[in-house]
Symmetry: C2
Subunit: 283 residues, 2 copies
């Protein structure tokens, strides 16, 4: 079977064609501009490719309830041209195939669960730490949904006592994303994260904040594996620093599984492979 | 069909016989003493009752993985006589019927989901605030499990600036349970919670701590309804105070469903009705 996949991000759209095993045969990417412009490039890419179905991992907020009349419609995004854009129904009517859509992070979680670092686990959580912080999860073999998609990047954390930076989240100021995403690191320390690799204090603080979030995910969801990706996580040794902070915070209250915190097995392909997996169950 | 149910708590065991609709026909309760002594009373209660299957909501930690060789065995509890006690297999072999076991709070969540305050919701969370704080959840129609059962009562929260009380949790000191369970209220204010109903400051602080936990559950799980029960939640108006704090903390980042925080629909029967529902799918 040939499936289509789209990783619909806020800065670029990645399109791919692949098979049911997650193998990507062909791909292309385009900058995210106006909806009609971007979608035209998407239609051109899939033209003549004869896909059976399409899976989409989309930036949010987006309506992900399959029984909702607004399923697949973008919500109240700061990207105003995309606000209320019916992404799924446009794709479905123009491509004429079944489409399944989920959040970008849920798609990435599914990719890692089916073919990546969590492929032998019964449940997993995927978190990306980059321009923002987002996470998705797989519970009972399905992506986790509730009344809306989770927004795990905005957890409240305790402030490091040495941290005078007020936080960057427009809603909560010093929530996890406000204190620990790439832009917060840059604003606090005056340089981009990848220029700060030699500064121990930067990463101690980062590990402290991320470990608090991992502790919450652990206590609430108890996932068998937590896959940590995104630009900020490319710092060597950060996974281990977080693991250490996590153990200090948890105080052995919950014995953690072996190799609990791991980098993505699919590197930067988790999202697009996950979108391909969504296509398999599209209706 | 006639089913049996046990709410196996740390201080008492409640046993009941009922039907598949959650109707309780007969019940009894016994203090939790030594395992053999308590179980003898359980066997006496069920003797001759001709139940088809049994559901159990048990205090923890307990192994809840149905495919584990230790399924239904109590873990590292401070109640030393119960440590490593194979509760499920003892019940199964003596009663000769299929038995399904989950945590007490997951059973209560299931009871409220099937027949209580969350019966029209697709997902829900149940939290009890009493001697301890525990929560269970229903996701995709199933109780939430991962590598272990969730331990949602031990989330880290931000301290209220007026709170000098160090916290009571033997593991984390000032986690949610350490600051907001009944014993913490009593230790901080010098009287039991139900004697402090007229003191506004007690409940403002309590609402602040509980709202932080509700915010985390909301951001991670996005349940359609959150049922809040337990002794501490009997204070009139506390649900509304928590709702208000929650809205302040969330800053409209996530629009909450109507009637999001509710008291149990089954009052103190959520656990035993949930256990009855577990019996229906016992193998």
């Amino acid at each position: 079977m040939r499936y289509g996949a789209i990783e619909a991000g806020g800065t670029k759209f990645v399109c791919a064609v692949g098979d049911e095993h997650g193998n990507i045969e062909e791909r292309a990417s385009f900058p995210t501009t106006k909806p009609e412009e971007t979608l035209q490039l998407v239609f051109d890419f899939f033209h003549g490719k004869q896909i059976e179905a399409l899976g989409v991992g989309a930036f949010g907020p987006v309506d992900v309830k399959e029984d909702s009349p607004n399923y697949g419609t973008i919500g109240n995004t700061p990207k105003l041209q995309w606000k209320d854009y019916p992404l799924l129904s446009e794709l479905k009517s123009r491509l004429g195939v079944p489409v399944r859509l989920d959040t970008d992070v849920n798609a990435a979680a599914l990719g890692e669960y089916m073919h990546g670092a969590a492929k032998h686990a019964d449940s997993c959580l995927y978190i990306t730490v980059g321009t923002g912080i987002g996470a998705g999860a797989i519970v009972n073999g399905e992506t986790l949904q509730g009344f809306s998609h989770p927004e795990m990047g905005h957890l409240l954390v305790r402030r490091n006592t040495n941290d005078a930076y007020p936080g960057k989240c427009p809603y909560h100021k010093d929530c996890l994303e406000g204190l620990a995403a790439g832009p917060a690191i840059e604003a606090r320390w005056g340089e981009k994260a990848q220029k700060l690799y030699h500064q121990e204090a930067v990463w101690q603080m980062e590990a402290y904040y991320l470990a608090q979030a991992i502790m919450s995910y652990t206590l609430v969801l108890s996932p068998e594996k937590i896959v940590m990706g995104g630009g900020v996580m490319k710092k060597q040794g950060l996974h281990e620093m977080i693991q250490q902070e996590l153990e200090t915070l948890l105080q052995r209250y919950v014995p953690l599984p072996e190799n609990y915190l791991v980098p993505p097995g699919l590197e930067d392909n988790a999202g697009i492979v996950g979108a391909l997996m969504l296509a398999k169950t599209a209706k």
